[in-house]
Amino acid sequence: MIDAVFWFIVLLTLGSAVTVVLNQKLLYSAIALLFTLFGIAALYIFLWADFLAGVQVVIYVGGILVLIIFGIMLTNRISTVNISHTSVQRGIGGMAVLGVLLILGIMILNTPWHQADYVEPTQTTASIGTLLMMDYLLPFEVASLLLLAALIGAVTLSRRAE
């Protein structure tokens, strides 16, 4: 059963990802991205990372995807439904993709992967919190500082236009 669900999710993720790239209508790509992002969240659940799956949905579906759709709607003439995007430089793009695939493949094959036991962890969020607040406090604070700077920067840039 686990296998069937897993392969269904993999197919959904990859299929919708292909649609994101190949569909000519920008909004259809954005909607296909919705399924890709949900598929990835489901894959996190398979790794017992339920909190990460929630974060994936909150940030990517609730935040970034909505932002993308907003961007599509605001940067074009608002009355046209069919905004199309076409691919240019397919040859070079394909080569770049193949190169990345090759490097990733070599990395995946050469990394010694640790197979964790397939048991449900007793708590998933508490350990993340402890690690963030104890072992990785400095990176956490640096990241929040970076986000704050980006926030202030965005406000400054949008205010300058007035």
Partner: protein, 358 residues
């Protein structure tokens, strides 16, 4: 009644795992769907009657002989539902048909799957997840995308304006709502819905039930921020500028009719229940009795949870028929200039309270 228990309970679980899984999910999903449908009829009737009483009218009555809507108009919501089902389903010529058809599904699924984590009583919960509250906050963002899709695919300027307003509003109000939930998580130390409710048993301050709303001044404020943000996320009056019938016809739903419109309507009512349910579970003790020890057994849990939720829904209906609609800029300034700073102060205050008192 969690899905896991059902799967373990099935005698043929090991032999046909896929069938077991699918049937366990269906056994949970069908009652939830029926519950939403029945509750929506009750809430619509309530809305009709309460609004009428507030305006010094009688509302649907159904008097006399012949075809009428039952005693006190009790069958009015049924008639409304039948009317919506029987209406012609119109898809505009210039609409983007695929997305137009997809949008109601996305909105309804967004509302429907949140019910999976709602704790109806000590035993009745579809799945008591580790990340229950967070799951509800996460999947409710699906509704935004559905509304944007509806507005966009209708190819109508009113729809699009409505969708943009709605999305901006929901995305904004998600932040104070989420920050209020963080204060709960800080107090209870868990994200699981049942865990949060279990931590609210007993008595506090000598006579009050140990609900989080009474726990400290900050959580008291957090409840109101959460509830008002929740009303805004449901796009209910006074926050209904996305639908604003006097300016935008019906906002994102302008072009929808019949069954597809019914699903938007159903999702709005389902979302009201989800917001009330989360507010009840997180702040008002969930299925705990208001008087500890009194009518506290599991069957009463269902009564208390639904009773408390319906009281909050009554409050939402009350809001709708007493407050005028906010302007777009007022709406945004309330969210970003009032709720957001207050929520941050709340989180800080609860942290201090936890250190010094808790």
């Amino acid at each position: 009644m969690t899905v896991d228990n059902l799967i373990n309970w099935f005698p043929f679980g090991a032999e046909w795992p896929v069938i077991t899984f699918v049937s366990a999910v269906l056994i949970c999903a069908i009652p939830v769907f029926l519950f939403i449908a029945v509750y929506a009829l009750v809430a619509i009737y309530g809305e009709l009657k309460i609004s009428s009483f507030m305006q010094d009218k009688v509302g649907p009555m159904g008097q006399g002989v012949g075809l009428h809507a039952g005693k006190w108009g009790l069958l009015q919501p049924v008639a409304d539902a039948l009317k919506l089902i029987l209406k012609e389903d119109i898809i505009p010529e210039s609409a983007d048909k695929k997305l137009f058809i997809l949008a109601p599904f996305v909105v309804f699924v967004g509302a429907f799957i949140t019910f999976a984590a709602l704790p109806f009583s000590q035993e009745i919960i579809v799945a008591d997840m580790n990340i229950g509250v967070f799951y509800i906050l996460a999947v409710s963002s699906l509704g935004v995308i559905g509304i944007i899709l509806a507005g966009w695919s209708s190819n109508n300027k009113w729809s699009l304006y409505g969708a943009m307003r709605s999305a901006a509003q929901i995305v904004s109000y998600e932040i104070p709502a989420g920050l209020s939930i963080i204060t709960i998580v800080m107090l209870t130390g868990t994200l699981s819905m049942q865990g949060i409710i279990i931590s609210q048993q007993g008595i506090i301050w000598g006579f009050l039930p140990n609900w989080i709303i009474f726990n400290n001044p900050f959580s008291f404020i957090a409840f109101f921020i959460f509830f008002i943000s929740g009303v805004a996320e449901c796009n209910r009056t006074p926050f209904d500028i996305p639908e604003a019938e006097s300016e935008l016809v019906a906002g994102a739903y302008t072009e929808y009719s019949g069954m597809r419109y019914a699903f938007f309507f159903l999702s709005e009512y389902a979302n009201m229940f989800v917001v009330s349910g989360v507010a009840v579970a997180a702040f008002l003790g969930g299925w705990n009795s208001p008087i500890p020890g009194f009518m506290d057994s599991p069957p009463w849990g269902l009564f208390w949870f639904i009773g408390k939720s319906m009281s909050l829904i009554f409050l939402m209906i009350w809001f709708r028929w007493t407050f005028p609609r906010l302007r777009v800029d007022q709406l945004m300034s309330v969210c970003w200039k009032v709720f957001l700073p207050v929520s941050f102060v709340n989180i800080f205050g609860v942290g201090i309270w936890n250190l010094l008192v808790g």
